[in-house]
Structure formats: structure tokens, C-alpha cells
Assembly symmetry: C2
Homo-oligomer: 419 residues x 2
């Protein structure tokens, strides 16, 4: 009997290592040709399944698939597209099953964050309801590190390493300029609801030397007075001050600071940019010269500075997804389980999709100092191993040599989808 | 006869490799103990000389000095401090000579951009006028790459490599998200008057594949209509658009775009951030979802991604400064001379300080495409070798292990300076 095929899709914001998970899926599937057929990847994530845009990864060379391991972002295209509930839009789930049936797809691998695990869970349920035999496995991914159960999320460690390194470097810069020029440097980082990336910035300084640093977590209400006082204090004590701020900090009225009242010449509200907002506050209230940076996509695509631990874990959850599927598990997600902090040891475990869907894990209270501006030793113990090790991509002509796949589509067998 | 000591100072904005030049100066001086005494470094640049804050680099270990080669920013502190003209403030120059005399300093090494070469030139003149034997040598440094005569400026190649890599990575990101989310990504880069770093962003794409990219040079007037038309065209043709913009672009009225009319809730003008300004324009006129990043200090301190060519050249001009001084040259600056493009060959030459002081070299017209939005093949030929090669710093606990020097000061011998 011919083995059934697999469908793999990338979902939501991409990372420096989501393609390493894809590499793990495809290489592991290829190692079991008797038990798993071709891996079809969704062009632009789940949209590829809905519109029957299936990329035949079988047309890619061994070398090209291997190169996914060192290539950032979503090689097949990702999508911000949340399927509605089963009752609200049954047609979409029905369509997925129709497409899978048309192409004899028996395995569904969905690589994403909390929303995506919820989708994978629903697809598994739909398969059962429609009496279509389907194995649905989630694969964790998010720079936000906010999935429950798993010790960490692939993608986070590399973004964390990038941010901590960048802040350490920028701190060297401002420290050397502070006598006559910039006193305050502000770096805005991602993580609208959970401050894991903000916490990672705490690693830029050793615990004993973190005096000049202020962290602003979305888990804490932004208090301008306390913040400005600390800025003044840091400049007075250390000559300079470095701030890492989550894009998602809110003032006491619950509003995002990034949306608080900036208007252009035409009276339009200006969106985005909490760093310039803070800079302005510092200028107006303290008069210090400042610089600010917004890392934005740079932090989640910086494969040139990936964490080796993160790359390995991303690959491992991809590989484990296929192995678990072949072992007969269904409706689960591989997770990272920490066995020890130092030396750092971990293994891949599993959790049922129902347990991870639509849950967020904020930074625990005991990872944030009592004044709210720093990380604790507990946070350092947790974070440190996740940024450990370098995993440099190959370079050509001075630049990282990232692969671009052929992404050839399989011939369609169904009429177009109209939802 | 005891050899005379040397004074070394860092000036202006720091770079990822200015400490490599310091390393070249100090290691080369140490190799000739019979002909050059201790290198005293100015604490916070030239201020260290004015206030007699002289760092005794002789107290630093061989390993610490070696580690300067892989440590970004200014290890002794830099300064944005321009000495006035000889006629306007003779007292400052007089003070420099007094301090040099008090510490038997016979060599003056000044590591900076155009302004600093002008200062070095004046110090040389002052020494001659005051009949104080002094050898004054400039050492080139600037991420802006705008010094004349030299083929390139140490500091530029690493910032260029960082920006081209970052933009390549962010382009992978937006390309994978464009179907359902972000269509336009904007990266703001340094270079207020000269668009060398903007040009470097052109390397992120191969010439034949640069379709989605738009470069906005300070050498060209910003024309909103033409820009928006090209954004629309790129999104339509490629699905997405990537923009690299110089912080210094101006509209037809000569105003910096970054200062054009943003007001906060209190009516204060908001300074800085041409990227968010462009993003807003795109949102208002085209309605595309966008993301933007401002690299700011990250681009000039990113030692983790330094160009090996740049590190070598930075070290070489430091070493050459000492060698030229010992050979009897005065009032000169070492420069990089290109001997061939491919394979790339270069050597260190020299130029008199009078020829480089206070001159800026913009991007040549034939490096910018006729529509103003791209670089030409001539630009690629020039830029490519400058980002060639990687030179990774050592890592400890997942982060670059940068050195912090002891920076012990020599006992003062003069009364305080009051200008």
C-alpha cells in the first residue's frame, strides 16, 4: 500500500528558525519513504490548503532542504489567517478535508503559535467527525515565547540572543558617547502581551553590572514618574541609561503608550513607535540627548545570529512531529522539556493540542524585580541556556547565503474554493 | 635617551572597529619600546587631553589590548567636541601642547572623521608655531564613509555588512508574510549627508532580483509622488516592497523629512524617525500594511557581524599611523588605496591632513540609478569587497565577550583647565 502524503504549513509571524522545523519535518519524512509519502507545503500557510496551492517539496534537492536549516522566515510563505470556530465556518474545515482527501493527505503538520495550535486541534476534530482518517500534529513556533506547557518556544532563543547582543553593543556605544553626547538609548522590542523578549534584553548586562539598564514590561503598568526618576538616577550614577521597552506597554488608563496622542500635521493619529514616545518624554522632562532604535522584523529574522540551542530545538520539534505521527499519536504538539539548568539538558516531550490551544504564558512574577525594571536571577537561570551557542549560516560575497526554494505547485484536482 | 610618549584619542561617533585601530596603534607602539614610550589614551577623546585625563594603556595586559580588536564602540570614551579655529580659541590648542609637554608626549594620534582630521591638522600647526616638536597623525574612521582620498573609511564596511544582511533577512520576512499581512517594510539608516549606507542596503538583493527594493538617498530630493508610484508598482509586481531610507532625505523645500510636521498631543514637534513618516504616507495614500525599523546605534556597534576586510583595514591604519610616525612623517593620515576590485587588493597609503580636513565625499552620481531608487553595477563593484569576510568575536554564555579596560589615569601634573 502506498504511504499517505503529509501537509505542512507555516502560520503567523515567522522566525529565524521556523524553516529549521520545516527541515526537520521534511528530512524525517524523507527518511521513511515506506511510511510517509511526499510532504506538501501550503503556499502561504493554511491558505495553500484552502486554495489547493500545494507545494511539492519532493521537487527540492537534498541540499535545498538542508539549507532550510540556516534560512530565516517562511520558505513557503506564512499567513496571518485564523480559521473561525467549527460552528461559525464549517465550510473552511470541510474544504481542508476535501483537499486532503483529493491528494491522499493523511498527516497535517501545523507550525505556529497559540492560535495555530487551536486550528490544528479543530482540524483533528473535523477529520474525526467527517470520518476522514487524519493525524494532526502542531509544531510550536513563536518569538513571543508565550505557549504554555513547553519550556520555551522555537524562535524565541534566537530573537533573545539577537536582542541581548544588540543591546550590549548599543550600550557600549552610548557609554562611550555619554560624556558629550547621547545619555539615553532606547530599544523597542516585540512582545505585545508577554515580555519575554524584554526580559531577554536583561541578559545584555551581567547581573552585577545592570545598573544603567531599565526594562519596561507589558506585564507592568507604565508609570511615567517612576520611570523618569530611574532614568535620571541612572544617568547620574553611571553617566548613561539604556532602556529596553516592550511595544506593548500601557499606561494606567489601559491604553498602549504607542498610541497615545501623537498627531501629524493633518491631525491623524500616528501609530506605532513606543521608543520615540519615550524619547520625547525624556527630552521634555529631563532634557537628555537620546537615541532610539526599533528592531521590528530585524529581531525575528536575524538568522545570522541564531542561537544554536534554538536551531537544534526547532529542528527537533519538526523531526519529533513526524516521528510522533508515525508512532500513531494524534492531536498533539511536541514540546521542549527542561531536565536541568546547568549543564542545560532538554528532551522533546508531547502535549495534547487541547491543552495548549489559545493560552498565553506571561513572564512569571518572580522573573521581574520588585521595582519592575529588571530581571531576577531566576529569570537569568531560565533564559541563559536558550541563547547558548552560535550557528552561523554560510556566507557568499559577504552576505548570508539563504536558500530560495523552487516552490513548484501540485496540479489541482478540485474546483476553486469559495467560502 | 628615553623615547617620547604617544597620545591617542577617539573622536565623534564610534564604530564597530574603531577599537581595532586603537589595537593597531597600541600593539605597534609596544613593538617599538626603544622608539615610542607609553600610549596615553584620552578619556572621552580630546577632552582627556584638555583636562589631563590620560589613560595609561601600559597598565592593560597584552590580552586586553588584543581584545580591543573584537570590541565595538570607544573603549576609552569618544567625544563630540570640535576645537574652534586657531584664532578663535588659541587657549585650547595651547592647553593641548602644555599637557603634551608635561607628559613628554611627542606623538598625537587622532582617530576620527573629517572634523577630527581638521583638528589634527591644527594641532600639528600649533606644535610648529609653539616650537614644540610634535608628530600629529590622523587615523580615519566613520561609518558614513565620507572622507576624501581614502578608498573607504574603517567602520563603514561593517555597518554596510550589517545593514545589507539585516535588510536581506527582513526582506525574507516580509516576503513570507505579504500574502495576508505586511506589504511594505521600511528600514531607516544613518548617513545624514552622504548615502553610502543607503547604497550598501542595495547589496541585500542581487542586481537581477532587486525589483522589490527602493533606496532613498540624501543625494536626491524626495519626491512623494514618484516614491508612492514605485511602492505601488513593487507591491503589484512582487507582492511586497522593501525600502531603505537615509535619515537625511529632504523634500523639495529643503527640509528634512524627519522633521516635517509631526506634533504630539501638546503641539510639540516630534523629532526623528523618517521611517515612521514614510510608513504613514504609505498608509494614508496607498493603504498597505507596513512595518518599519530604525537601526540607529545597532548599525554602527554591530561588532558581532563585522566585515573581516573592515577589521583588517581598521587595524592596518592604526598600525600604519605609528609606523609613519616612526618613519618621520608628520601631519598625514593613512588611507586605503584600492589596487584591484576582483580579486580585491588594497594597501595603506598616506595623504597630508590639509587635503582631507573638512571635506565630504557624497555617493558619486554614477553609483545611483537614473530613477534614483537603486544602485548601479559600478556601486556594487565598489561596495562588494568592503563587506567581504566574517570576523566573529568570541562568545561567553551566548553573548559576545567584549573587553572592558581598566582605564587607569596617569597622575596630573598641571592645574585644571579653564577655557
Amino acid at each position: 500500500m502506498k504511504p499517505r502524503h503529509a501537509f505542512y504549513a507555516q502560520s503567523g509571524g515567522v522566525t529565524a528558525v521556523i524553516n529549521a522545523s520545516a527541515c526537520g519535518v521534511i528530512e524525517t519524512a524523507r527518511a521513511h519513504p515506506d511510511r510517509m509519502g511526499t510532504v506538501y507545503a501550503g503556499l502561504n500557510g493554511i491558505l495553500g490548503a484552502l486554495h489547493e496551492d500545494l507545494i511539492d517539496t519532493g521537487k527540492e534537492s537534498t541540499e535545498a532542504i538542508r539549507a532550510l536549516r540556516h534560512t530565516p522566515a517562511g520558505a513557503f510563505g506564512s499567513a496571518r489567517y485564523k480559521l473561525k470556530g467549527l460552528d461559525e465556518n464549517r465550510a473552511e474545515y470541510q474544504r481542508l478535508i476535501d483537499v486532503f482527501r483529493a491528494h491522499d493527505i493523511g498527516y497535517f503538520f501545523y507550525n505556529g503559535g497559540g492560535d495555530s495550535q487551536d486550528t490544528a486541534h479543530k482540524v483533528a476534530q473535523m477529520g474525526a467527525q467527517m470520518d476522514y482518517p487524519l493525524v494532526a500534529i502542531g509544531i510550536p513556533k513563536t518569538v513571543d515565547n508565550d505557549l504554555p506547557v513547553t519550556d520555551c518556544c522555537p524562535g524565541f532563543g534566537s530573537a533573545a540572543k539577537y536582542l541581548a547582543t544588540s543591546l550590549r553593543e548599543a550600550a557600549c556605544d552610548v557609554a562611550s558617547m555619554a560624556r558629550t553626547s547621547t545619555r539615553v538609548f532606547i530599544l523597542e522590542v516585540m512582545g505585545r502581551h508577554a515580555g519575554w523578549l524584554t526580559a531577554a534584553c536583561g541578559l545584555a548586562f551581567e547581573a552585577a553590572e545592570a545598573g544603567p539598564l531599565i526594562l519596561l514590561f507589558p506585564e507592568r503598568t507604565f508609570e511615567p514618574h517612576a520611570f523618569l526618576q530611574r532614568v535620571r538616577q541612572n544617568v547620574s550614577q553611571h553617566g548613561y541609561c539604556v532602556v529596553a521597552v516592550s511595544e506593548g506597554i500601557r499606561s494606567a488608563d489601559g491604553k498602549f503608550l504607542a498610541e497615545s496622542g501623537l498627531r501629524d500635521a493633518f491631525g491623524h493619529a500616528q501609530l506605532g513607535g513606543v521608543a520615540p514616545r519615550l524619547a520625547q518624554l525624556i527630552r521634555d522632562e529631563l532634557g537628555f540627548k537620546y537615541h532610539w532604535a526599533v528592531a521590528d522584523y530585524l529581531q525575528r529574522s536575524a538568522r545570522h545570529l541564531a542561537s544554536k540551542t534554538d536551531v537544534r530545538q526547532a529542528y527537533a520539534v519538526g523531526r519529533a512531529a513526524v516521528r510522533f505521527a508515525l508512532e500513531g499519536y494524534n492531536s498533539i504538539m511536541p514540546v521542549i522539556r527542561r531536565k536541568s539548568d546547568e549543564p542545560y539538558r532538554w528532551r522533546v516531550g508531547k502535549v495534547s493540542l487541547g491543552q495548549v490551544a489559545n493560552q498565553e504564558r506571561p513572564v512569571p512574577a518572580d522573573y521581574i524585580s520588585s521595582d519592575g525594571f529588571a530581571i531576577t536571577d531566576a529569570a537569568r537561570t531560565y533564559l541563559r541556556p536558550l541563547i547558548e551557542g552560535e550557528d552561523y549560516p554560510p556566507y557568499r560575497s559577504g552576505l548570508p547565503d539563504y536558500v530560495r526554494l523552487k516552490n513548484l505547485l501540485v496540479a489541482r484536482r478540485l474546483p476553486p474554493f469559495t467560502s
